[in-house]
Subunit: 271 residues, 3 copies
C-alpha cells in the first residue's frame, strides 16, 4: 500500500495531467446521457469524440487516448462498434473503461460483456454496486438500471471481480469502492443529489477514461475520477438544492475543481 | 362525474404515491429529448430506464411499472422494440402511454400506431391537439411536429378517440383536454415558455407513465401528470424568463412540487 | 461587394424574418447534441423537427423550410435517411446545410460527403477550420472532432472549396470565415467558452439552416447565423464563467438577441 499523502498528491497530479494533455476520449455510450458525458469531459479538460458506426470505431480507437464503453442503450449497431473498438484497443494498447449498465437486469448484456472480455480487453470496470456484485457472481439487489443493494460483501465482491478479470473494479454508491485486487480505496465523499440526476454514473465513467488516458496506474486514475465527481457534487450541492440546477452546477464545478481540493476535502479510506 | 374536491385530493395522492413507490418507467423514446425524460422522471420521484434493443424490451417490460412509447425519432430498431414492449404489456398487464409524435405529418407513423393497437394495448394516448385530432379522424392543422390547430371540435375529437380505442386521451395545448370518453377535464394552467423548450410534450408523456403506474384510475393519473407539468411550468416562469434557464427550473420545480399545490393553484374545469 | 452598413442591416433583417416565419428546420444530426440543436432553434424562433427514418425523410424534406445534415454520429440508418433528404432537397429546391463533422479523421465520412454532392445538393458547408481545410484539399491539423489548425491559408482554402462546390463555405474558429467564393466575411466576435461546450458548432449549423430558410442570399444568411451565435456567446459570458451555466445562458441569449445588437456589436471584416 502506498503512503496516504503520496496517493492524494498523485491524485492531484492526475487532474493536472488531464488538463495539460487533453486526452481524446472515444466514448461509445448510451443516448440518454451522451450529451452529459461529452460536456463533462470538456469541462474536465479532455476532448470527447463519439464515433460509433461499426466501420469507424476500429480505426478511430487507434487515434484515441482511451475508450469508454457504456452499454446502457445497446443498439445492434453499437454492439458491433464496441466489439471493433475493444479489439482495436487490445491490438493497439489503448486503455478501456467498461460501464456494465443494467447487466443484472438484462441477460443479453451479460452475454455481451463476456464477448468483450473474450475478444478485447478492459482495464477498468466501473458500475454501480448492484452491477458489480452481479458481475462478480454475488447476490445483488437490482431494479432496472438502479442498484438497491444493501452493501453486504461489497468489498469482497469488488476484489473478487478485479482478480477474476485482472483489472480495476469500481463500485459506486453511497460509498465508492475502488480496487485492483490488492489495493482498495473507499471514498466517503458525494451527495445524494447525484442520484437525482440521470447519468451521474455515466459521467464518472467517462471521466475515468480521461484519467486512465494520462495515468499509468489505473487504480489511481480511477480514484482520481471518482473523487473528482464526488467533490464537484459536494461543491454544486452548496448552492443547488434541486436536480435541474444541480446538474448545471455539477458541470461548472468539474471545470472549477482545484488540484488541492483533493487533499483538503477527500475522505478516502485506504485498505 | 366525481366530486371536484375529491378529484383534486385524489390528484395530490397520485403525486404522493409516485414518490413513495418510485415506479420503474420503461421509456422507448426519441433521441431528441431522451435525457430530459429521464431527468424529469427522476425529479418526479420515478425511476427511468431506457432499454430499447428489440431482444431486451419484451422481458424488460415485465419488470417495469409502466411503459412510455414515443415515436418521435422512430428508428427501425425502435419500431421492433416498441412492438415487443407493447406485446409484453398486453400479456403482463402493464400500463402503456403512447405519444404519437408527428403522426399527422408522416404516414408511416399512422401505420405503426395501428400496428401497436392491433398487437399490443395502450391505456393512454397523449399528444398535442393536432396529433389527437388527426388520429380521431378530424381535420387538424399540423406543421412538422407542432400543432397549429385552432381548437375547433377539440373536446369532441378527444372524446371520440377515447371511445374508439377505449382508452384515456389527452390533448395538450394552451388548454389541455383529458378524457376517458365519459369524464372530461380541461386544464387552464401552464405558461407559453413550455412551447419554447423542446420535449415539454415528451416530458409530460413520461410523467404520465409514472402516474399511470401507481394510480388505477388512468383518467385521474393523466390529469395528475399534466397538471404537475403545468404547475411546475408556472413556478419556473416566475424566475426564468428565457428558455435555457426555464428548462433547468422546470426540472427543479417538478422536484419541489408540493401535494397541496394542486388544490391551491389548479384551474380545472370538470365536464 | 455590398456596402458594409447595408450588409449589417440585412443581417438584422434575417433575424426578424426567422422570428416572423418560424421556418421548419428538418435536422438529421448526431445524438450527442441533438437536444441542444432543437432547443437553440426554438429559442431562435425556428421550428425544429428531427425525422430520420429513411422512409420518412424524402417526404418530410418536402414540407421543410431547410435541411440540416450533421454527420457526427453517422449510423447506417442515418446515412440512408440523409441521402433521401438531400435528394428530396434537390428535387424540391430546399436549402441544405452540411456539417462535415470529423471528416478529416474518419475516411468513411469523406466518401459519404462525396455521395451527398453526387446525389443531392448542398447550399452551405459549415465546419470547423480543420474540416474545411481538409475538404478543400489543404493540409489540416485535426484531432478527433476538433480542429487544432494554426490557420495558415484559411481564407484561401475556404474560397477554393466554395468555388469547387459552388456553395457557401463557413469555417468556424477563433475567427470565423464565411465566403461564397467572391465575397468573404471574417467575424471576430465570440468567446473561448464556446469551445468548452459540446455542440456549439452543431448549434450554429442548425441556426444556419434556419437563416438559409428565410434569406435568399445564403452568404448573408450564414453571416447572420454565425454572428448570432457569437454575440449570444459574448452576452452569456458576461455572467456565466463556467461551461454548465454558460450553455444554459447561451440558449437564453439567442432568445434575447435584439436586431440592433448586430450593428452595435458585430466585428466583421468584409473582404
Amino acid at each position: 500500500m502506498n503512503n496516504k499523502t503520496d496517493m492524494i498528491n498523485n491524485i492531484s497530479t492526475v487532474l493536472t495531467k488531464v488538463r495539460e494533455k487533453t486526452p481524446l476520449v472515444h466514448a461509445i455510450t448510451n443516448y440518454v446521457t451522451i450529451n452529459d458525458c461529452a460536456n463533462i469531459l470538456l469541462a474536465f479538460g479532455a476532448s470527447p469524440a463519439m464515433a460509433e458506426a461499426y466501420d469507424e470505431t476500429y480505426d478511430f480507437a487507434k487515434i484515441s487516448s482511451a475508450i469508454y464503453i457504456n452499454i446502457g442503450t445497446l443498439t445492434k449497431e453499437q454492439e458491433q462498434s464496441m466489439i471493433m473498438a475493444v479489439l482495436s484497443a487490445k491490438n493497439n494498447n489503448i486503455p478501456v473503461v467498461l460501464d456494465p449498465v443494467a447487466c443484472g437486469a438484462i441477460k443479453r448484456k451479460i452475454d455481451f460483456i463476456q464477448k468483450i472480455f473474450e475478444i478485447g480487453k478492459v482495464d477498468i470496470i466501473k458500475g454501480n454496486l448492484g452491477e458489480i456484485k452481479y458481475l462478480a457472481g454475488y447476490e445483488a439487489k437490482i431494479r432496472g438500471v438502479d442498484s438497491i443493494d444493501d452493501g453486504s460483501n461489497s468489498i469482497e465482491a469488488c476484489v473478487s471481480l478485479a482478480k477474476k478479470y485482472n483489472c480495476i473494479v469500481a463500485a459506486t454508491g453511497a460509498q465508492d469502492i475502488i480496487t485492483d485486487g490488492k489495493r482498495t480505496a473507499i471514498i466517503e465523499n458525494g451527495t445524494s443529489l447525484l442520484t437525482l440526476v440521470t447519468g451521474a454514473g455515466c459521467m464518472v465513467g467517462a471521466l475515468t477514461a480521461a484519467t486512465a488516458a494520462v495515468e499509468e496506474d489505473k487504480f489511481l486514475a480511477t480514484v482520481a475520477s471518482i473523487l473528482s465527481m464526488n467533490l464537484a457534487g459536494e461543491h454544486a450541492a452548496k448552492t443547488a438544492k434541486a436536480p435541474g440546477s444541480f446538474k448545471v452546477k455539477l458541470i461548472d464545478e468539474i471545470y472549477l475543481l482545484k488540484e488541492n481540493d483533493f487533499e483538503k476535502e477527500g475522505k478516502i479510506q485506504w485498505i
